[in-house]
């Protein structure tokens, strides 16, 4: 009996500690208290960002409280949405890109929504004809190079994928493992577009012979290996985004006259990110409003400096610093989404075999 009492008192203590904690942590938003304000949950990846003011304006106008559920990188977030589709965790999912799109559509996580603003969006971005996934933003994955490094060597930066095989660029390039990194996969797809299957493997064999460096992800490639970043690594060439020079300029610790990096606009791959209403959302009307908002100028003009992507809405004006240093490739690679989905594992396995083993 005494033992039972001991156990029970411990349990009580445990529960009390847990209850006390919820007061230590910031209390739930006031929204929960007032029934007039509804909650809309948006599931997204970790890179999602937006301005407070823009979000607040939407919340105010629609009497809604937005909750963002950041769920890991793009792959992890989508995986979670697919896993929980029987009891969805959110009303809206943002952040599936064209490399994962067919997967998301095949899993049937989205409900179609013909947003009126889609009319303005160029046809090239509307990759789902049924409008289950609606394009929001896009950007190009391109090689970035360290301008000072190449100036110092009195050497031009590379102009094409073929240039990277030249002896003078030996050991200068760092790329991300396409199996673990989304820009890495994009770059692999760019080479597949350019050299075809199985020609891309020849290209990678040559790239490997020219001492290409492979790391796990973008953070390592950019901050550890790339020479123009703060990590001051050994490689002056890195696979990153065509908007990265703008970020380098904007986030410089001391004001710069010029961006320290530039993008090679050949051999790029265009990533398009989509949003969709999750099947079974009880807040369908609100979710539609939120998607309209994401396609509206207010949000589209906020995106470039928050996430360093281009808006799909052609009416959205670009911020000056962004427009000055961010670039778009003239003819980026963009493989059909179904082809990517069908071959993804095969390509990755072959690439791993050739480059890593």
């Amino acid at each position: 009996m005494k033992r039972l009492l001991g156990t029970l008192s411990l349990l009580t203590l445990f529960l009390a500690a847990c209850a006390a904690s919820s007061q230590v942590l910031p209390s739930e938003t006031e929204a929960a208290a007032s029934p007039a304000v509804r909650t809309l949950t948006v599931m997204t990846h970790d890179s999602f960002s937006a301005s407070e003011a823009v979000i607040a304006a939407f919340e105010q106008a629609n009497q809604v409280n937005l909750v963002f559920l950041k769920s890991g990188d793009a792959g992890a977030a989508l995986n979670k949405a697919i896993l929980s589709k029987d009891a969805p965790l959110a009303d809206v999912f943002y952040g599936v890109d064209n490399t994962f799109l067919s997967r998301a559509l095949a899993a049937g996580v989205f409900e179609a929504y013909n947003a009126p603003l889609l009319a303005d969006v160029p046809i090239e971005f509307k990759l789902d004809p049924q409008n289950r996934a609606l394009p929001v933003d896009f950007g190009d994955v391109c090689l970035n190079y360290d301008k000072a490094w190449f100036d110092g060597k009195k050497m031009p930066g590379p102009a094409s994928l073929d240039d990277l095989l030249k002896p003078e660029y030996r050991g200068l390039l760092v790329v991300e493992n396409p199996a673990t990194s989304s820009p890495g996969l994009a770059f692999l797809l760019a080479t597949i577009q350019k050299y075809g299957d199985p020609g891309y493997l020849e290209y990678w064999r040559a790239l490997k012979a020219n001492d290409v460096v492979v790391v796990d992800g973008w953070e390592t490639a950019y901050y550890t290996n790339f020479s123009a970043s703060s990590g001051r690594g050994p490689q002056p060439l890195v696979v990153s985004y065509a908007t990265s020079p703008a970020a380098e300029f904007i986030f410089a610790p001391s004001p710069l006259a010029d961006a320290p990096t530039a993008s090679m606009l050949q051999g790029c791959f265009r990533q398009v990110e989509f949003v969709g209403i999750l099947k079974g959302s009880p807040n369908r009307a609100l979710a539609e409003k939120f998607i309209d908002f994401m396609l509206s100028r207010a949000f589209q003009e906020d995106m470039p400096l928050q996430m360093f992507v281009y808006p799909v809405n052609p009416q959205a004006a670009l911020p000056a610093d962004f427009a000055r240093f961010a670039r778009l490739a003239p003819n980026p690679a963009s493989l059909p989404v179904d082809e990517i989905s069908a071959n993804r594992e095969k390509w990755l396995a072959a690439w791993t075999e050739v480059v890593l083993h």
Binding site: F48, S84, A87, L89, E345
Partner: protein, 560 residues
């Protein structure tokens, strides 16, 4: 089953075995769809996982053992500071440790820069990142503190007369170590080795960030299959293999431990200063190794967070970067008005609140469980290795399991009328509870070992003197165990603060922690982002250092 075990078993049942079971059941159903290529790769991955874990554990034990002796038996300057220092890596996110190693040993790290300018080389002479050496060094860096603490505790309580008896019987100091000290330390050593091995076996971040894509462990492969290939059956199969390996190790460990059990009376020893010149030399060189191995990488980080390197673009081998505090001041400004801006104080508060809760929950659940297991019946013996399993679980799989299990209310009628089934997953409690599942096995394990050393007659004496069972527990067990409790609590604290394991897969945007903030800065290009990430990492390091320092101080004061 003993009633005291019930809370812990229930807890792990709900927060570990249930989610894990659900994800495995869901994923393993379409197992037949797996292709043969995966299986052929599996052998390589398994081999490397075992190899690196065994090599890392061996090195960790070899490195940690002399330091365990140093901290247990010798009194030397800066001891509390150095002890705290060894615990800090344990709770730093891998990204931060990778950045620290990079700042020190990377291609443009201090060592390479110094050697290049001294020897007039054009290429960095030390190639560290992307090698097996980097993986092993990082594992030692992370886990040596486990050996130092577990073995050190046992060593500090070892009766010195046993060694003296051996000496008088003609054993040389070396023989005393091999024939007496080491066998007596074996239970602690085994426990430490198993823990280190399990951490290395399930290593993920270190392999990816420091080893690079050439190396792959089971956990890396699980993440790859689950998150990139969206191939859940493959991920589930791999998780199952990893779990079975963990279970095997745990069973082997409990078996060998019960065979070893030599009840030892703890005889706490006062550390003494080195006396002869040789002793002083040895201690000095050990302290030097300690400083080199821990202080240098850990100093590289704060130093980097206050130096501005951009000014010397184009002439980067030149020395003397300008010092600046702007990465810190910038942390307090929401420059771009982002809704995800995290003030450092808030992040620190959230981190500490989670860590505090994790400590409370894991001690309250772990203590009675350890008491039940200290004198186990048949059922308890059987349950014992199972309780270790969370240490070897794939964080990725467990995270997905949480998603499946807790996306609807556990007890529906308690949470009525919520539009979405977010209830439990959205509760801020889920994070410390997830941390508790990881910390609990260790807490139980270390308390169990300490409890076994309390002779029952102390409790009987207290009872005869009129203490109620509750008072006996408080006056005897709690007081005598303060040392073990503090180190178990410190472990739970660090598990939570470093956010490794399943917790990183749980989405909790409302209560961002320090590691979350660091990841946010690192995900965008630009010198300011990198600087702020390092500044935030320095803050995390300082807070954890202070917290551990305080705990250690408490421990010294409360020693019997």
């Amino acid at each position: 089953m003993k009633l005291r075990l019930l809370p812990a078993v229930l807890f792990l049942g709900i927060f570990f075995f249930l989610p894990l079971g659900r994800i495995l059941a869901l994923s393993l159903a379409p197992l037949s769809q797996l292709d043969a290529a995966l299986f052929s790769r599996l052998a390589d991955v398994l081999r490397f996982t075992f190899f690196q874990a065994a090599a890392s554990s061996l090195l960790t034990v070899l490195f940690g053992l002399p330091l365990a002796f140093l901290f247990a038996r010798v009194d030397f300057p800066l001891k509390p500071f150095l002890r705290t220092l060894t615990a800090i890596p344990f709770m730093l996110p891998t990204v931060v440790v990778a950045a620290a190693f990079n700042a020190l040993l990377g291609p443009r790290g201090w060592f390479n820069l110094a050697l290049m300018s001294a020897l007039g080389l054009s290429q960095p002479p030390i190639i560290f990142l992307g090698t097996l050496g980097a993986i092993l060094a990082a594992h030692v860096f992370y886990n040596a503190t486990i050996v130092i603490r577990l073995v050190g505790n046992a060593w500090a309580n070892l009766d010195p007369r046993l060694g003296q008896a051996a000496r008088s019987l003609g054993a040389s100091p070396a023989s005393v170590f091999w024939q007496v000290t080491l066998p007596l330390l074996r239970p602690a050593l085994l426990a430490a080795t198993l823990l280190v091995f399990l951490f290395d076996f399930t290593s993920y971040g270190v392999i990816l960030l420091l080893g690079g894509p050439k190396f792959s462990t089971i956990e890396v492969e699980i993440a790859l299959q689950a998150l990139q290939m969206l191939n859940l059956p493959a991920a589930a199969l791999l998780s199952l293999i990893q779990l079975l390996c963990t279970l095997t190790f745990s069973v082997l460990y409990t078996r060998s431990l019960s065979r070893l059990a030599a009840p030892l009376k703890p005889v706490p020893q006062t550390p003494r200063r080195a006396q002869t010149r040789l002793e002083r030399l040895l201690v000095a060189s050990l302290v030097c190794v300690l400083l080199m191995f821990y202080a240098l990488p850990l100093l590289a980080l704060p130093l980097r967070s206050i130096s501005r390197l951009e000014a010397q673009r184009g002439q980067r081998t030149a020395s003397g970067p300008a010092l600046t505090l702007e990465y810190y001041t910038e942390l307090f400004i929401n420059r771009r008005g982002s809704i995800f801006y995290i003030p450092p104080a808030t992040a620190a508060r959230n981190s500490l609140a989670y860590a505090g809760l994790t400590v409370a929950c894991s001690l309250l659940l772990g203590f009675p469980a350890a008491q039940a297991l200290a004198r186990p019946g048949r059922l308890e013996k059987w349950l014992d290795p199972l309780l270790l399993l969370p240490l070897g679980a794939s964080a990725v799989t467990l995270g997905l399991g949480y998603l499946l299990t807790f996306n609807r209310p556990l007890v529906p009628f308690l949470v009525p009328g919520r539009g979405l089934a977010l209830s439990f997953l959205a509760s801020p409690l889920i994070v410390p509870l997830a941390h508790t599942t990881i910390a609990l096995p260790f807490v139980i394990r270390s308390l169990q070992a300490a409890l076994a050393t309390i002779p029952p007659r102390y409790r009987e004496a207290a009872a005869v003197l009129g203490a109620s069972p509750w008072q006996v527990w408080w006056q005897v067990d709690w007081k005598i165990l303060s040392r073990a409790l503090v180190s178990a609590g410190a472990f739970a604290f660090t598990v939570s603060l470093g956010e490794f394991g399943a917790a990183s897969l749980l989405a909790r945007p409302e209560y961002p922690t320090l590691p979350t903030a660091i990841f946010r800065f690192l995900s965008q290009p630009g010198g300011m982002n990198y600087g702020q990430a390092l500044a935030m990492a320095t803050i995390l390091m300082t807070i954890t250092g202070l917290a551990i320092g305080l705990i250690e101080k408490e421990r010294v004061a409360g020693e019997f």
